[in-house]
C-alpha cells in the first residue's frame, strides 16, 4: 500500500508532466484565464482569498513551465523550486522594466503577468521541442 506522501508525490509528478506537455496550450490558456480572474478581482471583488487561489494557480503553472525550461535535469522538488525562483526573477525583471518604461498601475501589472506567462510557455515549448529532436 503506497503511503499518502508517496501518492501525493506521484500525483504531483502526473500534474507536472501534464503541465509541461501543455496539450493544445491548455495550461497556457488556463494561466491567461487566471490573469483575467486576477484582473476582475482587482477591479471589482477585491477578495484576498480569490487573489490567493489565483496566485497559487498562476505561480504553480508558470513555475512548472520555467522549471522544465531551465532545470529539466533536476529532480521534481528542486525543479519546482528552481522554477518558482525563476518565476520570481522573471516577474521582478518584467515588472521592473514596465515600471521604468511607464508605471505599474493595474492594467500594466496585468500586462506584466501576461508577458511572463507568454515567455514561460514559449520557453517550456522550446525545451520540449529541443528534447523531442533527440
Amino acid at each position: 500500500m503506497p503511503s499518502i506522501k508517496m501518492k501525493w508525490a506521484v500525483s504531483f509528478e502526473i500534474v507536472e508532466k501534464s503541465v509541461v506537455y501543455d496539450k493544445d496550450f491548455i495550461y497556457t490558456i488556463a494561466s491567461y484565464s487566471v490573469i483575467l480572474a486576477i484582473f476582475m478581482n482587482l477591479n471589482s471583488l477585491h477578495s484576498p482569498l480569490i487573489g490567493l487561489i489565483a496566485s497559487v494557480i498562476y505561480s504553480g503553472i508558470n513555475a512548472i513551465f520555467l522549471g522544465n525550461a531551465f532545470f529539466g535535469e533536476e529532480n521534481t522538488f528542486f525543479r519546482f523550486m528552481f522554477g518558482f525562483l525563476s518565476l520570481t526573477m522573471l516577474l521582478g525583471f518584467v515588472s521592473w522594466l514596465i515600471m521604468i518604461i511607464y508605471n505599474l498601475d493595474v492594467l500594466r501589472s496585468i500586462l506584466v503577468l501576461l508577458i511572463t506567462t507568454t515567455l514561460s510557455s514559449l520557453l517550456n515549448r522550446r525545451r520540449k521541442h529541443k528534447n523531442a529532436t533527440y
Partner: protein
C-alpha cells in the same frame, strides 16, 4: 521488521509533534504582537524561546534519520520562515529601519504616484537616470507591487513578509545545493540548510525587507551555479551563473559586484584547470593575479561610485593608523563593530561559525591535496576558500583603509556566513559520521538499547555514551546554537518602533481628508506615514526621513506652534491642509506638554481627536489655507 516499524512510527510521532510545535510557535508570535515596544525581546512570549529550542532539537533528530530529503527540507523551510518572521509578525509596521523607508518608496509605485521608476523621468542627465533605475529599491518596489496586485492585498503585508518567506524558502535550499556540490552527503547537506540559520547577521538580513536581502538570496544561487560551472562542462551552467549574477546586481549593487568578482574568479579557476598541465607556472600566477583583482573590485567600486552619485564620497585613507593603537586596528580588521559595546556571548555567536568553517576549509584543502583522486574537490574547496578570504580581507579593507562608505561594511559578513555554512555542516557531519563509525565498530551487530544489559558494564557504558552524544548532545548543542543565534540576531536595544497610535493617527488623517495635505512631524511620524501613504506623495505629503526642510519645519513648529510654518509647508508642497503631529514618547513628557499647551493657546489651529487614541499619547493640530 518490527524494529523498523517502531522507528518509522517514532519518526511520524516526532514529525507530528514538530509541526504542532511550529504552529504553537507561530501562535506565540501572534500573541506577542504589540503596538508599542522597542525590541522584540520586550514583548516576546516567554514560552517562545524554549519552544524554539525544543523544535530545533526535534528537527535535528528528524534530520539524522532516513526520512526523505525533500520532507526534511520542507521541515527546515517552515523552521526558517518562523525564525525570520519575528519583526514582521510582532511589530505592526515591521522593524524601524531601512525596510520601512523602502516601504515608503514602494507605496509610491503601488499608488501610481510616480512614473518611470522611483526617481522619475526628467532627472538631471541620462547617466543619472540610468544609475537611478538600476538601484535595487526599484526592483523591490516592482516585485512587491506585482505580488500585492496578484494577491489583491495592501502592499504593507507583502512588503513585510516577502523577504522572510523568500529567504526562508530559498536560502536553506541554496545551502543544501552548495553543500551537495561540494561533495557533501545528503544528510550533511540537509544539516547545512538548517545551520545557515545559526549565523546572526544572516538571520537579521533574512528578517528585514530591504533590496540587499533579495540580493543575498540570489547571490547564494549564483555561488551554487559557479560551483556547478567549475565541476561540469555543460554550457548551460555558464548562462545560469551569469543570469543569477545579473539578477543579483539588479537586486543590489553590493551583491552584484560580489557576484561578478566571484564569477571572474570562477572563470579563472576554469581556465586554470584547462591549462595547468601545459603551463603550470603561468596558470598559478594568473590565479594569484585574479585573486588580487577580485579582491580589489569591491573597494574600487566604492571609489568609482562617486562618478555616478554626487552624495557618495568614499576614499582610501590611512587616518586610522594615526589615530588608533595597532591592536585596535587589528581588532577592527577582523571584528569590526563587534569591538564596541557587544557582549562576549554575541561576539562568540557571530564568529564561531566562520572560524569553524575556516579551520575545516584548511583541513579539507590539506586532505584533498594529499588525495590524488580528489582533484575536482580540491578545486571547489580552493575556490570556496578564496571566496571566503576575499570576503574577510575586503571587510578589513573597508573597515580600516576606507572612509565615507555608502553602506555598513558589516553587510559583507552575510556573504562570509553564506559561504561558511556548508563547511560548518560538513565539519559537524564529519564528527557525527565518525561517532557512528565508532559506535558500529565497538557494538555487537544485534545490540539495541534493550539488550545492553547482556553486555559488559564497560561496553554498555561506551555504547550508551555514543548514543547519548549522537541523539541528545549533538542535537541539543546545535539546537542551543541556533536558538542563541536568534537572540544575537534581533537587536537588544532599539528606538521605539512605530506605534499603533501613530499609525491610527496617520490612517485617520488619510481617511478624513479629501483635499491635498501635508504633515509636519518628526522622523517617527514620517515612518508611520510611509506605512500608510508613502513618502512625498503629492496628495498626502510626508517629508522624507532625512529631509532638511521637513525637519526644520518641525523644529520651528515645536518652538512656535503657529499657522506661519504650516502655510510655508503648504506652499512648498502645493497642498491646502497642513497637520502638525506631536507624540509624547518621542518628545518626552515635559516637551510634549509644553508644545501642546502652546499650540492649544493658538486659536487658529484646530485640534483633531482620533477615536480610540488617548490625547496623552499623541496630539494632532490642523490648519486649512484660506
Amino acid at each position: 521488521m518490527p524494529l523498523i516499524n517502531q522507528r518509522s512510527k517514532l519518526l511520524r510521532i516526532s514529525e507530528i509533534l514538530y509541526l504542532s510545535l511550529i504552529v504553537l510557535s507561530f501562535y506565540l508570535l501572534i500573541a506577542s504582537r504589540t503596538g508599542e515596544a522597542h525590541t522584540v525581546w520586550q514583548v516576546l512570549h516567554p514560552a517562545f524561546i524554549p519552544t524554539l529550542f525544543v523544535i530545533t532539537f526535534l528537527l535535528l533528530t528528524i534530520l539524522l534519520t532516513s526520512e526523505k530529503t525533500t520532507h526534511k527540507l520542507l521541515f527546515i523551510i517552515v523552521h526558517s520562515i518562523l525564525i525570520h518572521s519575528l519583526f514582521s509578525i510582532i511589530f505592526p509596521a515591521g522593524d524601524l529601519s531601512g525596510q520601512q523607508g523602502g516601504l515608503g518608496l514602494t507605496r509610491r509605485v503601488f499608488d501610481n504616484t510616480v512614473f518611470h521608476g522611483l526617481s522619475g523621468w526628467p532627472t538631471s542627465t541620462i547617466q543619472v537616470f540610468v544609475i537611478e533605475m538600476f538601484k535595487g529599491i526599484n526592483l523591490q518596489a516592482a516585485l512587491t507591487t506585482i505580488f500585492a496586485r496578484m494577491l489583491s492585498i495592501d502592499i504593507v503585508y507583502v512588503h513585510l513578509f516577502y523577504i522572510p518567506v523568500l529567504w526562508g524558502v530559498f536560502v536553506p535550499i541554496a545551502s543544501f545545493l552548495t553543500t551537495k556540490a561540494l561533495g557533501g552527503s545528503e544528510n550533511a547537506s540537509v544539516l547545512s540548510s538548517l545551520l545557515v540559520s545559526a549565523f546572526p547577521y544572516a538571520i537579521y538580513f533574512g528578517a528585514i525587507s530591504v533590496p540587499n536581502s533579495l540580493g543575498f538570496i540570489v547571490f547564494f544561487y549564483s555561488l551554487y551555479f559557479m560551483l556547478k560551472y567549475l565541476s561540469s562542462n555543460d554550457s548551460k551552467t555558464t548562462y545560469q551563473m551569469v543570469a543569477f549574477s545579473l539578477f543579483s546586481f539588479l537586486s543590489h549593487y553590493l551583491t552584484g559586484i560580489v557576484s561578478f568578482s566571484l564569477l571572474l574568479l570562477a572563470v579563472t579557476f576554469k581556465s586554470y584547470e584547462r591549462e595547468k598541465r601545459p603551463f603550470p607556472r603561468t596558470t598559478k600566477i594568473s590565479l594569484i593575479i585574479s585573486f588580487i583583482v577580485c579582491l580589489s573590485l569591491l573597494p574600487m567600486s566604492f571609489i568609482y561610485l562617486r562618478f555616478f552619485s554626487a552624495s557618495t564620497n568614499t576614499v582610501f585613507t590611512l587616518d586610522k593608523f594615526y589615530e588608533l593603537p595597532i591592536e585596535e586596528i587589528l581588532g577592527q580588521f577582523f571584528l569590526g563593530e563587534l569591538l564596541y559595546g557587544f557582549d562576549l556571548r554575541t561576539i562568540i555567536l557571530v564568529i564561531i561559525g566562520p572560524v569553524l568553517a575556516f579551520l575545516y576549509m584548511m583541513y579539507l584543502l590539506y586532505k584533498s591535496k594529499n588525495n590524488h583522486g580528489g582533484v575536482l574537490a580540491n578545486i571547489l574547496f580552493l575556490f570556496m576558500t578564496m571566496a571566503f578570504l576575499i570576503m574577510l580581507i575586503d571587510y578589513g579593507i573597508l573597515k580600516v583603509f576606507m572612509e565615507g562608505l555608502p553602506l555598513n561594511a558589516e553587510r559583507l559578513w552575510v556573504f562570509r556566513d553564506l559561504i561558511a555554512a556548508p563547511f560548518v555542516a560538513l565539519s559537524i557531519y564529519a564528527v557525527i559520521s565518525s561517532l557512528k563509525t565508532h559506535l558500529k565498530a565497538t557494538s555487537p551487530p544485534t545490540a539495541s538499547i534493550f539488550s545492553l544489559k547482556q553486555l559488559s558494564k564497560g561496553n554498555s557504558l561506551r555504547i550508551l555514551s555514543f548514543l547519548f552524544a549522537l541523539n541528545i548532545l549533538i542535537p541539543a548543542v546545535i539546537g542551543g546554537w541556533v536558538t542563541f543565534s536568534l537572540t544575537a540576531a534581533y537587536p537588544q536595544i532599539a528606538p521605539l518602533q512605530t506605534t499603533w497610535y501613530e499609525l491610527e493617527a496617520v490612517k485617520f488623517i488619510e481617511e478624513s481628508t479629501t483635499e491635498k495635505y501635508v504633515v509636519i512631524g518628526d522622523i517617527w511620524t514620517t515612518y508611520a506615514g510611509e506605512v500608510i501613504v508613502g513618502i512625498k506623495n503629492p496628495r498626502a505629503y510626508y517629508f522624507g526621513e532625512f529631509n532638511k526642510i521637513g525637519y526644520n519645519l518641525f523644529v520651528s513648529m515645536k518652538r512656535d506652534p503657529s499657522p506661519r510654518w504650516m502655510l510655508q509647508a503648504m506652499d512648498y508642497t502645493d497642498t491646502t491642509v497642513a497637520y502638525f503631529i506631536v507624540t509624547e514618547p518621542r518628545l518626552g513628557t515635559e516637551e510634549f506638554n509644553n508644545v501642546v499647551s502652546y499650540a492649544l493657546q493658538n486659536k487658529q489651529l484646530t485640534v483633531i481627536s482620533v477615536p480610540g487614541v488617548p490625547p496623552e499619547k499623541i496630539y494632532i493640530f490642523s490648519y486649512r489655507k484660506g
